[in-house]
């Protein structure tokens, strides 16, 4: 199967590549101030993870950002950023190739918004300057040839904790800070293995690279699939992770624990998310980095999350047991289920 994927890659359509529409620069940050928080992100374009499926191993290539200040470990998604409401932040991007960082849901000046067509793309270094005005769940991602670069994995979580700190979340009421005991951050995505062949500037000058056609074959939470994913851990060793058990995905809670799930849609197809009825009532308390004035109960039939959305779900399991959460990915036109990923909530 890995051979098949490589064969498909060999037939890859690139369209007309080139730097059309790009505006590579490395300017100083206007009105630069001393930040409260400083992140560094360096672009890497040689990440490979191995997905187990149908008794075979499939090597899938990714691009992403590493954090050189914390070991520079390559991961899918890219390492999360976490700050506290009220902080001024610098995100320092370092890239020899042309990329940007857009803090998705954050609203800085257009110069710091990371969208090349409205400001510039980065080749070299740039300090994005922004302010964390509102707690909530966000993400960051590259906004250069976005259709390709986001699919290639150039995104990560971005969490702003409320003034009351981690362990609390604003939701189910404006200015209402709810405590939580267990937190899960799920970046949920679909992977089309045949897209891995593209050059970073594929079809920027026109032509047909097939970037309107998406036929995903792997479905992931935090880079990990149901069937198992071999990743390189921080020590550089191979580790096989599954969504049902991986510590970064699966939820372990006790009865009466307050559980917060931060859902980040990092893909392109509608996600049909279903929490099992047995886990009890699940509430949506915030969306897109804004608290809901009133919590909404997630219907028993589930909810549809669309690309770029973030949702914060909150629940308190009442009974011990193992509960499976399922996310079905629907085709964006036919709405047929093209794949799924699931994980477990284990309540002791």
């Amino acid at each position: 199967m890995a051979d098949l994927i490589r064969k498909q890659n060999a037939e890859c359509k690139q369209g007309d590549d080139g730097d059309c529409g790009l505006n590579p620069q490395e300017p100083p940050t206007p009105y630069e101030i001393k930040p409260d928080v400083y992140f560094e992100r360096e672009v890497v374009m040689d990440i490979t993870q191995t997905y187990l499926s149908g008794g075979a191993e499939h090597d899938i290539d990714f691009w992403g950002f590493i954090d050189p200040l914390n070991g520079g470990h390559k991961s899918v998604p890219s390492p999360a950023m976490r700050v506290t409401q009220g902080q001024t932040v610098h995100t320092h991007l370092d890239s020899s190739h042309i990329h940007t960082i857009h803090h998705h849901g954050i609203e800085p000046t257009s110069f710091n918004d990371g969208v090349g067509h409205y400001s510039f793309d980065v080749q070299g270094k740039y300090n994005y300057q922004w302010y964390a005005s509102q707690s909530g769940t966000y993400m960051y991602h590259c906004h250069t040839n976005t259709v390709l670069h986001v699919e290639m994995g150039m995104y990560g979580g971005l969490i702003i904790d409320p003034p009351t700190g981690p362990g609390t979340v604003e939701g189910a009421g404006i200015g209402n800070y709810l405590p939580y005991d267990v937190e899960a951050i799920w970046a949920v995505d679909e992977i089309d293995s045949t897209w891995r062949c593209h050059a970073e500037d594929a079809a920027l000058c026109g032509g047909d690279a097939g970037l309107n056609y998406f036929d995903p074959d792997f479905f992931i939470i935090n880079g990990i699939s149901d069937g198992g994913t071999i990743i390189k851990n921080a020590d550089g060793d191979d580790e096989t992770l599954r969504t049902a058990t991986a510590a970064a995905v699966a939820i372990k809670a006790k009865v009466d624990d307050r559980v917060l799930v931060r859902y980040i849609h990092g893909g392109y197809f509608p996600h049909h998310l279903v929490f099992p009825a047995a886990v009890g009532k699940v509430w949506t308390i915030a969306e897109d980095g804004r608290p809901l004035a009133v919590a909404e109960e997630v219907p028993s039939g589930g909810t549809i999350v669309t690309p770029g959305e973030r949702r914060e779900f909150y629940f308190t399991p009442q009974k011990p047991g193992q509960y499976q959460v399922t996310i079905e990915m629907q085709h964006w036109i036919t709405r047929k289920v093209v794949g799924s990923v699931s994980t477990l909530i284990t309540v002791d």
Binding site: S133, A203, N212, G308
Partner: protein, 355 residues
């Protein structure tokens, strides 16, 4: 007899579109109900895509009293107020059956090939509506037969329903998808070939807002502009067959209505609006100073009035950011300019303020 007009629209004539015939229904807040005549012709022709390819499409074309075409693709925006009656004359020049339906209502009238019909309907409840040819499971619609019907509450121009949020101007975005293969098939095999097409084979390669793809969407009808505090209502209507996910940079928006379900309180603030086919969702963009500009930048001299801020609004189903299979970001994407009023008001705002 087949029409082979080249429909010159979108980009290309947006200025004329705004300055010229606003909408078939001249509307202004008034105390009395009115009968409003609409003369629509269902035509076909070639629509120019952003990469200059001309594709065969259908369209509702508005005809003025002297029979001149006013708007073509998407169809003319019909603006009225609650209590009005719309008197429609509908002529079908295609060689296939067509219809005029208003999604979410029981308004539906079919017209035979070459036929002409007249009908009237009472304006439905205030809100945003998709009018379209609903035949063949949306195939006729996505071939181009769609437009917006906007119903204002009687006598009001700053709210879209009683209890709704205030705004000073309005926009509408009709979301469209174009599959060049379908255009070729219908062009080669005749208009009636639409009865042979199925959504399972739909592979759109062009993605439009009000009939145009970025960067031809920097127009007064489509690009959002406002000085600080000048809230605008954006009426988003998905005439395509795909699920879209409209992401706003610069400001979160306040969701006012979803398919005419109006939210008088507890409105959500979103930066992504999910748009399922046939959805009509209204949101208010506040045109506030973007919240995540560090306060110290203002102290150091940053001035948003001196430097209006330009942001994108794009669909985050990024497949829709392409044209012809690449050419990022020439798809369902437009601009948002915060800190400056537009020189030319949008078609919908002008329709609101005319007379």
């Amino acid at each position: 007899m087949k029409r082979r007009d080249f429909l010159k629209l979108g980009t290309y004539s947006s200025a004329g579109l705004v300055a010229g015939n606003i909408s078939l229904l001249a509307w202004t807040p008034r105390a009395h109900a009115a009968h409003l005549p609409v003369n629509l012709e269902i035509i076909s022709g070639f629509q120019k895509m952003i990469d200059n390819k001309g594709l065969y499409m259908f369209s509702f074309s508005g005809l003025s009293a002297d029979g001149k075409k006013t708007t073509e693709f998407p169809g003319p925006t019909l603006i009225c107020q609650e209590g009005d009656t719309i008197d429609v004359k509908l002529t079908n020049t295609l060689s296939t059956h067509s219809s005029f339906m208003v999604a979410g209502t029981d308004i539906a009238h079919e017209v035979a090939p070459g036929g002409s019909i007249q009908f009237s309907f009472a304006a439905p409840a205030a809100g945003s509506y998709l009018y379209h040819d609903g035949l063949n499971n949306g195939v006729n619609r996505v071939m181009g037969l769609h437009g917006a019907l906007i119903v204002m509450p009687a006598g009001k121009k700053n709210i879209s329903f009683n209890g709704g949020p205030d705004f000073v101007r309005q926009y509408k975005w009709l979301l469209g998808n174009v599959d060049p293969n379908w255009s070729h098939l219908v062009n080669n095999n005749g208009d009636d070939y639409v009865t042979q097409l199925s959504i399972d084979q739909f592979e759109p390669k062009y993605f439009t807002l009000n009939g145009a793809s970025y960067h031809d969407t920097h127009t007064p009808d489509t690009e959002l502009m406002g000085a600080i505090g000048e809230a605008a209502l954006v009426r988003m209507i998905n005439a395509g067959l795909a699920v879209h996910s409209l992401h706003f940079h610069g400001n979160h928006v306040e969701v006012a209505s979803i398919n005419r379900q109006n939210f008088s309180s507890h409105r959500k603030h979103k930066d992504v609006i999910s748009m399922f086919p046939e959805d009509a969702r209204d949101a208010v963009i506040p045109f506030e100073v973007p919240r995540d500009i560090p306060p110290q930048e203002f102290k150091l001299g940053f001035d948003i009035v001196e430097h209006p801020q330009h942001y994108p609004m794009h669909c985050h189903t990024e497949l829709s950011q392409t044209a012809g299979g690449g050419f990022y970001p020439h798809g369902m994407h437009t601009g948002i300019v915060i800190g400056q009023s537009p020189e030319t008001e949008s078609e919908v705002t002008q329709g609101m303020n005319s007379l």
